[in-house]
Structure formats: structure tokens, C-alpha cells
Symmetry: C2
Subunit: 422 residues, 2 copies
């Protein structure tokens, strides 16, 4: 089964919107065993849409479109799909009822353009929208399927979960499985060297390295006669990685480092508090994205000024005067101070020069000290994250969370192989 | 001039990576006046790559590819492009020198796979890579151009800035201009109603509404005989929007609310501090993404526990006992407390129920109180942001920053039309 994802909207071509819908759809289809052969994005132009429909319909069994179903005049997907399937519009009373109910809940009036959204292609099945006014459409002919969905991510997600995926699940047997091993603290080429030979372990498995500022992901894909075999092959590869690079592996698939830290801390009844200077709240933002984090996260302090480091965390002003705010000594006092004032098991801290200003020959932009404190003691480590402000924040936040992971798992706090420099 | 962006890599099809490269390229090309007609993503399969090259080369003047140039075995873009243009590989000594220099700087050895990256297509010009080991290629035939770049975003960005954009800039005359007006605090349909008639003001201009959790963007595009005329038309539309929805407009194009707040505060010599409960550090993360924010941002406190609200910000425990941590009274004391302890001009605060747990009939998941304090007084406002934890954090952070914008500009602190509910 081959599929194409067809994303519609000028905003995708001029770079105004990042196509996260395509990632979501790609993942959902792949998990089902459908091979996504192509993602195409075209603008709100009739000629380009018709051409894209024709090519996609010719090459694939399944097409999912997103976008262009809104109530404003620039949305032409409905008209295009009607032309493509040579069908007209009819009013659908259950769609109209859905729209009326949704607007009533939100205390908004039914506008003419909302009412027009109840006009749907006559030859399509309707995909109900649980959280917006635009219905989706399902065309099926000659064993092929075209699903038309809105571009608003959560509206499209609802249609996938409630309608499209259940229909696609009927009748898949081929076994395909994939697994992504998440690493941090090791460069792509160093990791690839450590894992040399993995690509020949199982010829039907594929291995890909996906580098990003917060770490390198290793994607493993297996195709086999049945699900158990595919899973067993993946497990062999995963074990191979564990044996060679265990200390750098913090999770799998869509796990996040902060989720896994939360699970570890919750299981032990332990807690953490965070003192952030250069990361500016990014660490606690990530922590508080985890549902239930209030069980193990007590507080954070974003101590951007020297005064706040002293007033809130007890950093000795003479330490800052002698060694600077970006120093091992300050990082250690921050970690110790937040742990003491919050009364948590662990305290972690960051202090660095995110740039673009503030660097010197001795302390260049990108230098970050990261501290950790527990009743086992307090220590801090030096990192050089480069000259991009946002990437430095991202890398420092990841390194600080990884330091906590290493402490929790009693791994060496400083990696045993060279740290990544890119 | 038509262009296609061709993104290469299995990770894009299975949803493991979001295609931010395509957004960047789409924006850069559009700003130049090139019409991006399509974005295509295909996997690391030779057949699909050859087919995509053939279609893109037939339909377009300019093609930019990203991805598949890495040192690992799953990268086949170089082989594919050599087949497509029927050319072989030659070692390029200046590329080899670049790779050696880069690795030496990072104190890493030259591996065999790195050395292989100095083998380049014989009939291509080379695009040097300032921050990675994979060079790019430039093929030009029959007035058409194919640029091949790596998938690592900042490596590709460097090639665009230093090589591709300067070459494309030679010889563009057609005038196309676009402008995006950024709004927040107003629903798409309410905004569209307020702006009714804008699409007929200038028939050669187009208007598109792009909704997102933090606000609705209005994209205006003009095509005209010269740049001045296109700009004048855009300005007419922008004025139309200002007249009808001024209080909701916080910026344009890629400005962020936090950048604009920073400019306002810096110009006035004023400052802000932030007390966050439900937003968990997201507000200060956004603030500290702005270079130079240490001039106007003093500190933040992520007061997740009730104890931290009291200990760090002086919230009266009896207030929490009587009204709850999520209440007007607590939000006001948080805003007032952070302003007082930090000694800043403004204090802003959030306290709410991000979910999924913790809701009740009286205080459902999604309820957020947002406070603001200055020497003009302290007040707090109630919002309902829905049942998605991450979106609630995003919306609450945006609403808190917008409250500060309204205070700085002496706008009504509470919008004069209904708030968005989706």
C-alpha cells in the first residue's frame, strides 16, 4: 500500500507555516504499515491542485490532503476536489447540525460562511469534525482512497483518530516495525563509529542516523513475514546499540528526556528544582510539559540578574566578583542553593553566555557551566555549545537534564567519550 | 521564475522530522520574488529520487534539494544526482582541505567516510560548507539550476546565504512583496468579519488568514509593475487592518511579541519580572530567546508548588486556602510579589489548570488567571484555553505577554471584542 500526503496552502510554500501535519500523517501511516512514498505541498491555485490530485491519484492507493477547507475566500480545496471527481455540492444536514452545535458551545453566531461549510461534495462520505466547523471528505473509487481534511492540526488529528485510521486498519497484514533509539551527548560520527557493523546485522533492517542539536536519533526499521519476527530483529539491533553506547541512550521513539526523568523520580519518590540563568526557563518549560510533573518538580528560578542569583539562591556576591557569574563556582552555588531552598532531592543549574553579546577571549559565547547538587555532593561541568543563541539554550537545557539522568542512573556524570562539538 | 523544493530522507515521510528546511527555503525564495510551486519530500530510494528529479527538472527553473548528503550508508543523494546528470565523481582538493580544517578545529580524526565526502560530481560547481563536512553541488544547464544541499539546517542555511541567494539575486526584476500582520486575542472568524471588504480593496493583492494557538496571522501579498507600487498596495491593506483591529495587532512578519515588548521596554528604560505557575517557564524562555533581554528582564520564578508561591513571592497562605492557587487573588499577589521582589516596572503572572488532571466543575482544565502589576495598580483576568496541556501553556504565555503589551500601550487590558475560544 503506497500513500501520498498532499498538503495544500500558499503558507506552506512561502515558509510561513512549517508542515507539521505531514510529519503527523507520515508517522501515523507508517505505524500502520503503509509506505509513504511522497509528501507534496502545493499552493491555493486551481491548476496546481488539479495536477497534484492527478499525479497522486495515479501513483498511490491512499492520499490524504490537508488544508484549504476554511471559511475564507482563499480556500479552494473543496472546489478542486469537486472538479477532480466531477461532482457537485449538496447541503448536509448533519454537518450543519454539527456546526450549529459547535458555535453554540462557543457562544458564537452562525455566519454565512460557516453555513456554507455544510455544503459538501455529493459523491463523498463525510468525515465529522469534532473541534471545528469544516467537515472532511472521503472519496473511494477503484480500491483507492482520497481523504480530505482541514489544515488545523487538532481538527485533522481528530479525523484521523476517529475515522481515517480505523478504516485503514481494516485489512493490513504485512509486518513492518520501527524503533528509534534516542541518544544525547555523543556526535553522529562518533556514534556511527561505535556502532560500526550494525547495518549488516540484519540485511532486511535499515538504520539511519538523525542528528539534531539535542542529540542523535538512530532509526531502526524492520520488515518481516510477521510482526513478532520484525520486533525480534529490532530488538537485536537495539541490544547491539545498548552494548556499545548505553550511557548515551536516554529513551526511544517519542519519549522525551523529561518524561523519562519524571518516571524515574516518581518511582523513587524524589524531586528536582531548577536554577536557570542562560537557559532562561527552557528547562522548566520542558519539565512542565510533562503531565503530572507537579509530583516531582517543585520550583524553578530564572536568575537572569546577579541580584536574583544572590537574593533567591544565596550565591555569594564575592564568588561572582572573584570568578564571574559564568563559572564553576557560581554554577555549583546555584545548584546547591535551589536544592536547599526548594527542599528537593536534586538541584540543577545553568549559567552561560548565550550570545550574541557578552563573550570574551577567556569566556567565549557558547560557554555554559552546568551544575548538579544532591546529598551525594555538588559539582559542575563546562560545555562549549557554539555561537547560536537558541541552539545554545537548547543544548544546555538538554545537557542539564542529561546530567540529572546520569546522576539518577549512577552513570559517570561526565561522558566517557568525547562530547559532540557540533 | 518557478521553483520546487525537493526534500530527501525517509525521516520526512515517516514523520520523524518536521520539514523546517522547506519553510526556510520557501521563505527565502519568496522574498526574492521566485514563485515556489511545490514542495516535495521523497525517501532515500533511488527510483523515487530519479522520478522526483525528472519531474522537478521538467516543471521548474530552480530546484533546491536538501538531505541525503551525510557520511552514513543511508544517504544516496550524491549517487542519484550523478545518475541524473550522467556524471562521475572526482576528488576535490579544496573540499578535502575544508573537511580537514573543520575536523581539526573540533579535534576529531578524519575518518574514511569523511574523506569520501571530498569526492564530488565532476560536472557540478561546489558549494562550500562552513559548518559541516558535506559540500553542496550546483548544476546549471539550459538556463535551469539545481542546487544540492545537506539536510542539517544550519549547514544548508550557510550555503543559501553565502552561495545560492547571491547567485539567484542576479537578474530579478518582477516586483512581488508580501507582509504578514500578526494578531492575537481575536478569533479568525471575528477578525475576518471585522476586515470584511479587504479582499476587494486591491484586486491584485491576496489576503490569507493563518490561525494558530497564539493568534491569527494575516498574510498580504502584492504583485505590481514595480517594488514601490507593490509596497504602496500592501501599506493600504495594512492601514485598513489597523483601522479595524488595531488593538489586536502586535507585530508584522517574523517579529515576535517578546521582541516587540523588549523594544518598548528598552526604549522606556523599563523592566519586567515574571511569576509563572501553569506556564512553567515558557514565558521566560520566550523572553530570553531575545538577544539583549537581560537589559529589561530581571528574573522569573516558576512557582509550581504552593510553598514556592509563598516563600518566593509572598503569597498569603490564607489567600490560597480561601480562594485556591488558581484564582484572581493568587494571580494578583503573584504579579505584585514578583514586581516587588525583583524591583521591576512590571510584574506578570500565570496560574491555571493545564491538565489533564486537577480540573473540577467549578475550575475546569484550561482555566488560567493572568495577573499584571505596575505602579498603576494590580489586576488579573480569567481565560479558558481548552483541554490540551501544551496549547494551554502556549495560549496562556501569549496572553500574559499580550497583557503586558496592552499595559505598555495603554490599551484596554481586556479586549473590547469577544476573546477567541478556539
Amino acid at each position: 500500500m503506497n500513500a501520498e500526503i498532499l498538503s495544500i496552502g500558499d503558507e506552506l510554500l512561502i515558509g510561513q507555516v512549517v508542515n507539521t501535519n505531514a510529519s503527523y500523517l507520515g508517522e501515523q501511516l507508517s505505524l500502520l504499515g503503509v509506505t509513504v512514498r511522497k509528501v507534496t505541498a502545493v499552493g491555493d491555485r486551481m491548476d496546481d491542485l488539479m495536477d497534484a490530485f492527478a499525479r497522486a491519484w495515479q501513483d498511490n492507493d491512499i492520499i490524504i490532503t490537508t488544508g484549504g477547507l476554511g471559511p475564507t475566500h482563499d480556500d479552494i480545496t473543496r472546489e478542486a476536489v469537486c472538479r477532480f471527481f466531477d461532482t457537485g455540492l449538496v447541503e448536509n444536514t448533519s454537518v450543519l447540525a454539527d456546526i450549529e452545535r459547535l458555535l453554540a458551545e462557543r457562544k458564537r453566531p452562525l455566519s454565512a460562511s460557516n453555513r456554507d461549510q455544510a455544503m459538501v461534495p455529493a459523491s463523498a462520505d463525510i468525515i465529522r469534525n469534532g473541534s471545528g466547523t469544516a467537515p472532511g471528505y472521503h472519496f473511494h473509487r477503484d480500491g483507492k482512497h482520497l481523504f480530505v481534511t482541514p489544515g488545523v492540526p487538532y481538527e485533522m488529528h481528530g479525523m484521523m483518530e476517529n475515522y481515517i485510521l480505523p478504516r485503514l486498519r481494516e485489512g493490513f497484514t504485512r509486518a513492518r516495525a520501527s524503533l528509534t533509539v534516542l541518544t544525547t551527548g555523543i556526535a553522529e560520527s562518533t556514534l556511527a563509529d561505535a556502532l560500526r557493523g550494525i547495518e549488516t546485522l540484519r540485511p532486511t533492517c535499515s538504520v539511519a542516523y538523525l542528528p539534531a542539536p539535542i542529540g542523535v536519533r538512530v532509526r531502526l526499521t524492520a520488515v518481516a513475514e510477521d510482526h513478532e519476527t520484525a520486533q525480534r530483529h529490532l530488538e537485536e539491533l537495539r541490544t547491539f546499540i545498548s552494548e556499545r553506547a548505553e550511557e548515551f541512550v536516554y529513551g526511544r521513539d517519542h519519549e522525551t528526556l523529561e518524561q523519562n526523568l519524571g518516571a524515574l523520580l516518581t518511582a523513587r519518590g524524589q524531586s528536582v528544582a531548577v536554577a536557570e540563568s542562560c537557559t532562561g526557563g527552557l528547562i522548566t518549560d520542558r519539565i512542565t510539559n510533562v503531565p503530572g510533573s507537579s509530583l516531582w518538580f517543585e520550583r524553578g528560578v530564572v536568575c537572569y540578574s546577579n541580584e536574583s542569583k544572590t537574593a533567591l539562591l544565596g550565591v555569594d556576591p564575592s564568588t561572582i566578583a572573584a570568578y564571574g557569574a559564568v563559572s564553576r563556582q557560581t554554577a555549583e552555588q546555584l545548584a546547591e542553593g535551589i536544592r536547599r531552598t526548594a527542599g528537593t532531592t536534586f538541584g540543577i543549574s545553568t549559567t552561560g553566555i548565550a550570545g550574541p553579546g557578552g563573550g570574551s577571549a577567556e569566556k567565549p559565547v557558547g560557554l555554559v557551566w552546568i551544575g548538579i547538587s544532591s546529598d551525594a555532593g555538588t559539582s559542575a561541568f563546562e560545555f562549549y555549545f557554539g555561537d547560536d543563541r537558541i541552539r545554545t539554550k537548547q543544548r544546555a537545557a538538554q545537557a542539564a537534564l542529561d546530567l540529572l539522568r546520569r546522576a539518577l542512573l549512577q552513570l559517570p556524570l561526565s561522558p566517557t567519550t568525547p562530547r559532540p562539538t557540533q
